[in-house]
């Protein structure tokens, strides 16, 4: 009994944390979502969400999050695949992770410097004869910077999955007549799919609600659900509508978690 009791005691800090910073905010958000601007209970916010403006916004959020996730995956998988096979893979991995320790805002400002009219990117374009281009405040720069920020989070789980892969399985596939591509398709990818799923979750969900980058890098040309929530809380003061969008974001997140849920098969 003693051990059971003491085990519960260790749980207390975590339980308090969850209650204060996870459960309470969610309850508050749900609560606010049922009140309109004048403080009356109504379902108006939910009706509002299903109008063209917000649906379009949701769609565009999904589209950008999808693009960011897909491009991150396309870059991260080959990188991780290559990293597992290099000699000092831990060192390389560290170098890839280090930028993720730098504050997001700092990185955003750095990119403003790089992509700005007189930044390094335009200097380069000038030098190779293409000439100065508007890079900042475009879809391109938004997606580029987002991918840059999320890529370590995509590489890590895929790298882990790949390094757990038993190399003799690759020999076995090869031995049974599989070409390199077939081996990848039939063995490597299915066995690292859990890493891919985790990576996609870690990237897609935050990408849905990016708001700082949309302002700093995309110059508010890209309006995502995250931007809308920020605007409602800080600018229009319509906490009810902001909360409603947040409720939908939370639901979407749970749906994605459920859809990409890990179902590990024994090794």
């Amino acid at each position: 009994m003693q051990s059971k009791l003491s085990r519960r005691i260790y749980l207390i800090p975590y339980a308090i944390w969850i209650a204060l910073f996870v459960v309470t905010p969610i309850i508050l958000v749900v609560y606010y979502s049922f009140y309109d601007l004048d403080g009356n209970f109504s379902l108006e916010n939910y009706r509002q969400f299903f109008t063209a403006v917000y649906l379009k916004m949701t769609l565009s959020s999904f589209w950008y999050a999808f693009l960011i996730t897909a491009i991150s995956l396309l870059v991260a998988y080959p990188t991780a695949y290559f990293l597992v096979r290099t000699k000092h893979s831990q060192l390389w991995l560290l170098l890839i992770i280090v930028p993720s320790w730098v504050n997001l805002l700092l990185k955003a400002y750095a990119f403003i410097g790089i992509f700005g009219k007189y930044g390094a990117a335009n200097h380069f374009l000038e030098a190779i004869g293409i000439g100065t281009k508007q890079i900042l405040f475009t879809d391109f720069s938004f997606i580029f910077v987002s991918v840059y920020i999320f890529i370590p989070f995509m590489i890590l789980p895929i790298f882990n999955a790949l390094s757990e892969l038993n190399p003799s399985l690759l020999d076995a596939a090869n031995d049974l007549g599989a070409s390199r591509w077939t081996t990848f398709r039939r063995v490597i990818f299915p066995l690292t799919i859990d890493g891919v799923k985790t990576g996609c979750q870690i990237v897609f969900i935050p990408a849905l609600s990016l708001f700082m980058l949309t302002r700093l890098i995309a110059g508010n040309r890209v309006i995502t659900l995250g931007t809308a929530i920020e605007q409602h809380f800080l600018v229009t003061q319509d906490w009810g509508m902001g909360s409603t969008i947040a409720v939908f974001l939370i639901i979407i997140m749970f749906l994605i978690m459920a859809l990409t849920g890990n179902r590990k098969r024994g090794v």
């Binding site: 003799s168 020999d171 090869n174 049974l176 007549g177 098969r265 090794v267």
Partner: protein, 369 residues
């Protein structure tokens, strides 16, 4: 008969970067339909030979032929050879059926045909009805069988087995030895089996290649290798041996531990220094007077089937004896052996010279008759 040889190694050397060579100028031939064993301690190069045949690695120099075709640059996926891996290397995301069907699906075989073939392969390894099991839910022995089924279902010319029994417990291992041997006979496919276990090698093989330090020390049938080891390494590695230095006085007469004994070896120089091997089971316990050697027992182990006595003679040589008779520690006993039990090895004799010498005097025997 030009088709009897299925695999041929021609002066093959394998070296990884600047490390010492793993295989040193190895040449051999493997005949169709036989059970071969590559036997040697870890690091002797036996697994490297297997990987070279499978195509997982390329020879540094020398040529490898499979079925008369040079395969040096042919990748593993286009060789008519299948491997059973030491850790089985079954695909954990596929069930038993799909694991076995893997090779067939790559060949784009029709579903009905795949089903028939997988069924047949599974019944060959006594796993009928296990098609839908997950790999994680199977025991070591069952996984082993799936791995074998996955190899034989492709109907390869050669099956390579890389220490496939080493992860099984003793009882299961013995059972699988019988099953593998049986399977090989039924299928008539060439098996190349890698092991460091000499008992396994002796029990299963048609032919054994004994390897050490990247070279084939001796090749031959289990009986040849056991009875006529070429050198100290082989004598020591295959079974237990008493090895003492001696001098070949003349044909059929050898001197060791200060005495002269009749033997059946010949073809050496007079007074040539040699090593003499007598197997522990060829030594019989008798009285001091009747024995050819007089020794003192200093330890005794009960091994189940026999007693293992460790004795020393007056010169301090140790003699290991396997006997069903018991003796007490400290007893002074005599050891008797037949002239046929003495095996004389020349120092540093190559396998070719050894074979030539043996052939020379078997021919003489023929002439005598």
């Amino acid at each position: 008969m030009e088709n009897a040889v299925i695999i041929q190694f021609n002066h093959v050397t394998k070296q990884y970067q600047n490390d010492p060579a793993v295989l040193k100028d190895v040449s051999f031939e493997i005949e169709r339909g036989k059970f071969y064993t590559l036997l040697g301690p870890s690091g002797c190069g036996k697994t490297t030979i297997l990987r070279l045949i499978a195509g997982f690695t390329e020879a540094t120099t020398g040529d490898i032929f499979i079925d008369g075709k040079k395969v040096n640059t042919i990748p593993a996926n286009r060789r008519q050879v299948n491997t059973v891996f030491q850790d089985y290397a079954l695909f954990p995301h596929l069930n038993v059926f799909e694991n076995v069907a893997f090779g067939l699906r790559i060949k784009k075989m029709k579903q009905a045909q795949i089903e028939a073939k997988v069924k047949e392969a599974l019944s060959f390894v006594n796993l009928k009805g296990y098609e839908n099991r997950e790999i994680s839910g199977m025991s070591g022995g069952q996984r082993q069988r799936v791995a074998i089924a996955r190899a034989i279902v492709n109907e390869p010319e050669v099956i390579l087995l890389d220490e496939p029994l080493s992860a099984l417990d003793l009882k299961l291992r013995t059972q699988m030895q019988y099953e593998l041997r049986e399977l090989q006979k039924r299928l008539g496919i060439t098996f190349i089996f890698v092991t460091h276990d000499q008992e396994e090698a002796l029990a299963m093989s048609d032919e054994i290649f004994v390897l050490n330090e990247g070279k084939i020390q001796q090749s031959g049938t289990p009986i040849d290798i056991y009875d006529e080891p070429i050198n100290r390494f082989v004598a020591d590695f295959i079974g237990e041996s008493n090895i003492v230095p001696g001098i070949m006085i003349e044909d059929f007469l050898v001197e060791f531990v200060g005495k002269r004994f009749d033997c059946v070896d010949q073809g050496m120089n007079t007074n040539e220094p040699v090593e003499v091997v007598i197997r522990p089971e060829d030594l019989e316990i008798t009285t001091r007077e009747q024995g050819k050697l007089q020794v003192t027992v200093h330890s005794l182990l009960f091994r189940g089937v026999h007693y293992e006595l460790s004795c020393t003679d007056e010169d301090g040589n140790e003699w290991l004896v396997h006997s069903t008779k018991k003796a007490a520690i400290g007893d002074e006993i005599g050891l008797y052996f037949d002239p046929e039990s003495i095996h004389v090895m020349r120092l540093g004799e190559s396998e070719e010279d050894f074979d030539r010498r043996l052939e020379a005097y078997t021919e003489e025997d023929h002439h005598a008759k």
